[in-house]
Symmetry: D2
Subunit: 202 residues, 4 copies
């Protein structure tokens, strides 16, 4: 079994992205599955293209994308991606789409095909806070999740796909008032637990 594990680079003025930091430290083999990692630019369009190329090249059993959701307290597997870009800030190349459809021939939304409740249960078993999320927002995270599930629906009938948001790292909140965060070790453990649940429920 092969898992394509992707992580965004920093955006919104942050010096780091907890997804990228943690994914770099995730084990290369989890529960018998091979983990192939890709860093993804936080850019509308390019992010989907980058992962689509990796999906074709690697032909993984699972494409699992990780992104930052600053302000959340735990790891949150996403249940659904919607066909909508609507950006409150610019992406890393200055794009800021409003009310824009991602793929004209795509569905209004795609549900993830990953076992989000089993993932939450496994992350909690590992001693870390987690819950299912029902919105991935309307910025590049939802965009990529939607794009992955769109391409899976068109071309990769046997591949599973999904997305998980992770909180800020401690280092990102030292000068922010009252903002929750996790250590890199905790986020790494949470991602590995989520992948374990994905493998066990495949």
């Amino acid at each position: 079994m092969k898992v394509l594990l992707t992580a965004f680079d920093p955006f919104g003025g942050e010096p780091v992205n907890p997804a990228q930091e943690a994914v770099a430290a995730v084990a290369d083999s989890i529960a018998g599955a091979e983990i192939v990692k890709v860093v993804v630019p936080t850019v509308f369009g390019k992010s989907i293209d980058t992962v689509y190329e990796a999906m074709k090249r690697e032909n993984p059993d699972v494409t699992f994308c990780i992104g930052q959701a600053g302000g959340r307290v735990g790891l949150t597997p996403e249940r659904v991606a919607i066909n909508l870009d609507d950006a409150r800030i610019e992406d890393n190349e200055g794009n800021q789409p409003f009310d824009k459809t991602i793929f004209e021939d795509g569905k209004t939304a795609y549900f993830t095909t990953l076992p989000v409740k089993a993932m939450v249960a496994k992350i909690k078993e590992a001693g870390l806070p987690a819950s299912v999320s029902y919105t991935a927002g309307t910025f590049v995270c939802n965009h990529l999740m939607y794009g992955v599930l769109y391409h899976i629906s068109k071309e990769f009938p046997d591949m599973k796909g999904g997305f998980m948001h992770v909180p800020y790292l401690h280092e990102q909140v030292l000068n922010r008032a009252n903002t929750p965060s996790l250590s890199k070790d905790d986020i790494v453990k949470g991602i590995e637990a989520a992948i374990t649940a994905i493998v066990e429920n495949a």
Copy 2:
């Protein structure tokens, strides 16, 4: 240099107290200082008596107390303790004082004699979230901090004293919605950083 480090036992229906769990794992020697640990019952009166006995027995240079503040995102050294018990819930022996003076011959409040800003800076240097707090509440935590500073003012002119609140452990929030938490490792590191700042600024 000797530091008396105290931690409360669990209260309010919690199975654990992050202060007790973390203090048990703190090193026995930090920055050259000897650390002597005492577990304190979460009980009005008894908590102060327990620590007062230890202060007399151990004659430490510093008495530093740790307690749980569920809902906070980081470690929070307390600046001030007030002469007031006012309990929203019962303590571990069923006491629930309202609007009660702690020591009739005590001051309205005592400022800590620990270097709270240096402690916050050192905890952040260790990569963990921290900020100075200006209220330790009106439950047993404030009660103990007040009692320690009262006894210091009366009998131990060379001793320094203070209190730090720590967030919930992850295991305490797994079934709570939207509540921040830290790992035991992070809380241990934060307490050790705080003690390092205390020793360095003595």
Copy 3:
């Protein structure tokens, strides 16, 4: 122009529902549009049936549903409803579906056909906090919003439909720690502003 305005009854142990309290006080005519009001039981299935009957009976130009989202700070028009029931608590008749599809022949999701950004702008113009929400949850609120948009897509090609969540009333939070709320007057004004935007953008 005719607007069918619906509001849920109380659920989850609350004595009141801010949606019901506020909708009862909304004007019967707004910006020239006639407002027809219906109270909806907080019950899976029955809620959709109740509103579907009203849609057939009243043949309104717009079906606009209001529900409670405890913990939110402002009024939040919903952008999307998803084909999923997943209940954390029982509804008012003891139903608690898990991972259940609402309509087998429905789309994965429907976007609202109401002008959510214009509604948010108008509510703010009226001096009240508002923002677009991208999740109506997976309880009866999302269920009803999904059902309304499903029936519109099947049978009412010219009708517009959507949903708005409103915060707790002050009276619901008097004994809750740190929970935001609005007055009934403010919620009424916010709903009337939202309807004004709907009429003006029709």
Copy 4:
């Protein structure tokens, strides 16, 4: 009975101060007491001087000060003021004291002599969220509350004094994410309820 009711002017870049807006609309007579209003500059030193002059001039039975605490959900009578200025931002004349004692011959802290629990109960009776607060911070609000209680302790043995924080107005949060607020009407009603409790418990 005469109540001196003070309110700060805007600070920290805000266009308005909810305290000032609401106090201007408070009735001139409440529960038989005459209300005399004073606007106070948000400046260390000058704020206390302004109110001290008014205390000498008006010789009120009660000096009751109102200030903004952005981020709080309800009205919060303050229990205690501490002898410490420590400013995170500059005041309206560019002062930013750190770790500074307010009055060298003052006590470490003063408890309010207003009936804070009765005030909270009365505000709730009026249908508005309220709770006792145990920290007024270390900016100009605490500074003024401390100064009022200091001068009362020195010169006005029969005068009562205290402070209440109020949340942001709606207009202050329209472009802030997830920040609670109240209408001016609600804040006015809350202040009037608090004064009613003060008069009734005199």
